[in-house]
């Protein structure tokens, strides 16, 4: 047994747990990322799973993966390629072979690399590594299945139940490889299976045995240490984007002192928002699973009419169904937060894969001149901030707000410093009884604040302010239905101006990098981490480049034009065919410096590709 084990310090590492949908890879990945975060590392995760719940065992389309990148610092995304792949079967190896770095470790289960397993993954030779030309990696074969079984012998578990713990055995090996303390993992397992003590014991046993196995035989010549970050003092937790979105709504309702209401319908990848909020009856949250997407938004709009902070959560196909009701929210000028967790389209597309292809739908997908606020979240934790902001703007400016997140940040998680809500602004809805100075009898439902053009909110149950609103055009003064041509033109203008005015209530656009550079990278939404890392690496290479990332899309921050016009080239990078680039060009027609970088693959950007492409463009190639 070798004893001269070397511990190597590294800055970052990307690990992918991969296997069948039923192999528990999401759990191994989540545990590893959480314990790394608790250990003090920065983390970014990317669950990449198939749409099928349980595809045929060992098949290529049944491969489920969980990628986690951990580091001492500067972890902005879940990483392009993997340093370590855990492959529970040959299909997992095949699907992930292209993402392996040179010299990377492939930990595989020799028990499930038999002839029949190779056949299922459509290998034609007995050596899958050679067949995939993987001569640049270090394969480490471990009999994970049989060792898990012997580890749990006498545990009283059925054979099938024992096998379920093989993900923990594999995780144990990875924990050894990266010097992760097992106590944290044990504690997490105790929480996870608190109602099934037998499973807690079995999983901890398999995990420990996996760890000891790695340690005893020194599976590799070196293990790795990634130092804890020196992040700001305070309390932390880890959170994924969907949970953070739900939290942002709860926090905003608390700040505004209003009831939170969610009307929703299950849809991948947005369902977790509904599932989180139905749990929060302890906060008095009213979250309803409705009969369809339309009922999701219309019940919300009803709740908004009745005085709630009302939201609905969905993905692209659901947003399409909600269009008409969104128009009604625009027309009636009621506060409403619509969360679109974007996924690949059109139609059903690739439900579990992420894209930024709903921007046009969010901006324009309604009949009539129908302006509203569009905000995009940049990262899992930014979902909290943007959900809070969406709520603030909706409630204070009496408008529907579409919050765009995406499958990547919705399912991905990172460490999150628990916010102190005293640092957040109070939210003050324009209640008619507080704002309208005069005889209640003189008040009309579409009288407005002169500066902001926001109408006052008269909530059912409030004496003296009974009124009727609806989808028909109203006279701007009396609030009575009107088809007068001049009035309609003015109302169209007022509704537009009201949204434009919100630019005065949001922060200015900021710039990262070298403001004297020729090239500016522009992004929005969930690509932030990849674009930031690409920018920083180009800067570190001694080249001049700047980067700006938009969270507020409609309206744009006030300084947007001045910021964009100062650069020779503006490269708008997005996961669609150029929707934000086209939007910027239409908002600022005299800008002639806009170029596009687009990928629509349903996968996150690759930093290496971004660097290559940006550099080429910068060098005029």
């Amino acid at each position: 047994m070798p004893t001269n084990l070397v511990v190597t310090d590294i800055k970052q590492v990307t690990i992918r747990f991969s296997g069948d949908s039923g192999d528990g890879m999401q759990l191994s990945g989540t545990l590893f990322s959480t314990l790394s975060a608790i250990f003090g590392n920065e983390i970014a995760t990317f669950p990449d799973f198939p749409a099928e719940i349980r595809a045929p065992q060992g098949s290529l389309h049944g491969v489920s993966g969980f990628q986690v990148r951990i580091g001492a610092k500067d972890v902005y995304n879940s990483g392009d390629k993997t340093d370590v792949l855990v492959a529970m079967n040959p299909a997992a190896l095949k699907v992930n072979a292209q993402h392996l770095k040179k010299g990377s470790i492939v930990l595989y289960d020799t028990d499930s690399f038999q002839k029949k397993d190779l056949d299922k993954a459509q290998f034609t030779t007995p050596d899958p590594f050679a067949e995939l030309n993987l001569d640049h990696i270090q394969p480490i074969g471990v009999a994970i299945t049989s060792m898990t079984k012997s580890s749990l012998e006498g545990s009283g578990l059925e054979n099938k139940e024992m096998l379920r713990s093989k993900n923990m055995f594999a995780l144990g090996i990875v924990c050894w490889l990266f010097n992760r303390p097992l106590e944290i993992a044990d504690k997490l397992l105790e929480q996870k299976f608190s109602r099934k003590p037998k499973l807690v014991d079995a999983n901890i046993k398999a995990l420990t045995d996996g760890y000891n196995y790695g340690n005893n035989i020194h599976l590799t010549a070196s293990t790795y240490r990634i130092d804890p970050i020196e992040s700001g003092k305070g309390f932390y937790t880890d959170v994924n984007g969907n949970t953070a979105t739900a939290y942002g709504l709860i926090a905003a309702a608390e700040k505004a002192g209003v009831q939170l209401f969610l009307g929703s319908y299950p849809i991948t990848p947005a369902t977790d928002i509904l599932q989180e909020l139905v749990k929060r009856k302890d906060f008095g949250v009213k979250a309803l699973q409705m009969e369809d997407e339309i009922a999701g938004i219309t019940s919300s709009l009803g709740a908004s009419f009745a005085g709630c902070l009302a939201a609905t959560s969905t993905s692209g196909p659901g947003l399409a169904l909600k269009s008409e009701a969104l128009g009604l929210a625009v027309m009636t000028e009621l506060p409403l937060v619509v969360i679109d967790v974007q996924r690949s389209g059109p139609s059903t597309g690739m439900p579990t894969k992420s894209e930024q292809t709903d921007l046009n739908q969010a901006l324009y997908g309604r009949n009539g001149e129908s302006p509203l606020v569009v905000i995009a979240a940049a990262s899992p934790t930014d979902c909290f901030e943007t959900a809070f902001e969406s709520s603030r703007l909706a409630l204070e400016h009496m408008t529907p707000v579409i919050l765009l997140t995406d499958g990547y940040i919705a399912n991905g998680s990172s460490a999150w410093k628990i916010p102190d809500m005293r640092d957040y602004p109070d939210i003050k809805p324009p209640y008619v009884q507080n704002h309208f100075n005069g005889d209640a009898g003189e008040w009309k439902p579409f009288l407005r604040d002169e500066k902001t053009l926001v109408r006052y909110w008269g909530i059912p149950g409030t004496p003296n302010y009974m009124h009727r609103i609806g989808g028909l055009e109203k006279d701007q003064f009396t609030g009575v239905i009107s088809s007068n041509p001049e009035n309609h033109q003015q109302m169209v203008n007022i509704r537009k101006q009201k949204i434009q005015n919100i630019a005065g209530f949001i922060p200015e656009q900021e710039l990262t990098g070298d403001k004297d550079a020729d090239t500016l990278i522009v992004g929005w939404g969930g690509t932030y981490g990849h674009l930031l890392e690409a920018t920083l690496r180009i800067l570190a290479d001694g080249k001049k480049i700047a980067f700006t990332h938009f969270r507020y899309i409609s309206p744009l921050p006030k300084n947007s034009y001045n910021l964009l016009k100062n650069f020779k080239r503006v490269i708008v990078a997005e996961q669609n065919n150029g929707q934000f680039a086209d939007y910027l060009s239409s908002e600022f027609p005299d800008l002639k410096n806009i170029r596009k970088f687009n990928r629509v693959e349903g996968q996150p950007f690759k930093v290496s590709e971004l660097i290559e492409e940006f550099t080429k463009t910068m060098e005029g190639k």
Binding site: F235, Y236, D282, M290, E291, I294, T298, S299, A306, R468
Partner: protein
């Protein structure tokens, strides 16, 4: 001596009337429905500001504009879903839906049945004129097979929905029927509907004077009404006819209209109405009676059953959750959740 109920009426019918000029066609049945709703609200002593009237699209759905309450004229078919949101958000409000046969049974069919299934405490007034009026005369989901209209020049080749069947199919707890011209019965069923805790469906047989004039004549016209309708009252015998000499009896598994004193039928044979039985079999039979089968059309409250209402159960769950976990601030909640660590 019987105790006399002393009633103090805070509001008059006119208090629920908005200043907007009513713009339905002259002679439209909607006028009567509107007036009845004003009267019913006054009788219920409801504060106008605690009342919300929600509607979809169509002639019927203009109704909220004529109410001095909170009102929301929304989009086609969605009123019941919006009303669900309003009621759950604030259970203290009295929530009404004004809708038509196209609005609630065609484009809004899904919301209609699911609101009923949930039994959320809203009162749905379904104006059934068996035609699309606002789009000028197309057949609706309640038009009879063979009905000739602008969109069915050769006659429809589809069978209609009967609203009661949908309501009972969705496990409805309250169903009533009224005729637009019969204002007394209409006000009564509206009051009953409001008192019922759960979804109430009131089907009002309403005349479209322009596109489907006289569609309900056989039952609404004075000369036939007495013989062709029966007004059901809780605990009373199902009697009808000009001389009140006809009654509904059970004949095997079926209902039958008979004349008392003929064919050996006596008053004892006539059924007594009970709207409160959980089993809806007889309610459905009563609701589907038609003159073509020799039976009068049933009016009044046909079914009125007490079951848990959605918004009340929602409040209960919240109360229980808060009892078990005392309310904390959002930051406290996060700090006490799992996976929290401190960086010192």
């Amino acid at each position: 001596m019987e105790a006399t109920e002393i009633k103090y009426q805070k509001h008059l019918a006119k208090d629920y009337k908005s200043e907007n000029a009513v713009r339905w066609c002259p002679g439209c049945g909607d006028y009567a429905i509107l007036t009845c709703l004003h009267k019913a609200l006054a009788e219920l002593n409801l504060e106008p500001h605690d009342t919300a009237v929600i509607s979809g699209i169509g002639c019927s759905s203009r109704l909220p504009y004529y109410m001095n309450t909170y009102g929301f004229h929304s989009i086609h078919g969605r009123a019941t879903a919006i009303a669900t949101g309003v009621k759950v958000a604030n259970p203290a409000l009295s929530v009404w839906v004004a809708t038509g046969d196209g609005d609630s049974l065609a484009i809004g069919g899904n919301h209609f049945i699911h609101a009923i299934r949930r039994n959320v405490d809203i009162n749905i007034i379904l104006f059934n004129n068996k035609i699309y009026g606002l789009t000028k005369g197309q057949y609706s989901p309640t038009s009879s097979r063979g009905f000739v209209s602008k969109s069915s020049p050769y006659g429809t080749i589809e069978d209609p929905f009967r609203p009661a069947e949908l309501c009972f199919g969705a496990r409805g707890t309250f169903f009533a029927r009224a005729i637009d011209v019969d204002m007394k019965n209409q006000v009564e069923v509206m009051v009953e509907a409001a008192r019922h805790k759960g979804t109430s469906v009131i089907e009002v047989l309403q005349n479209c004077v322009i596109f489907n004039d006289g569609i309900h004549n056989k039952i609404s016209d004075r000369s036939w009404k007495a013989d062709n309708t029966v007004t059901l009252k809780q605990g009373e015998k199902m009697l009808y006819g000009k001389e009140n000499d006809k009654g509904i009896v059970l004949d095997g598994w079926n209902l039958k209209g008979v004349t008392i004193g003929e064919d050996g039928y006596t008053l004892d044979d006539v059924l007594v109405h009970d709207a409160t039985t959980r089993d809806n079999t007889l309610h459905l039979k009563l609701a589907l009676m038609e003159s073509t089968d020799g039976l009068p059309v049933a009016l009044g409250v046909i079914r009125n059953v007490d079951e848990p209402s959605y918004e009340r159960d929602y409040e209960k769950q919240i109360e229980e959750a808060q009892k078990n976990a005392p309310r904390k601030s959002f930051t406290e909640f996060l700090l006490k959740s799992s996976n929290v660590w401190e960086v010192k």
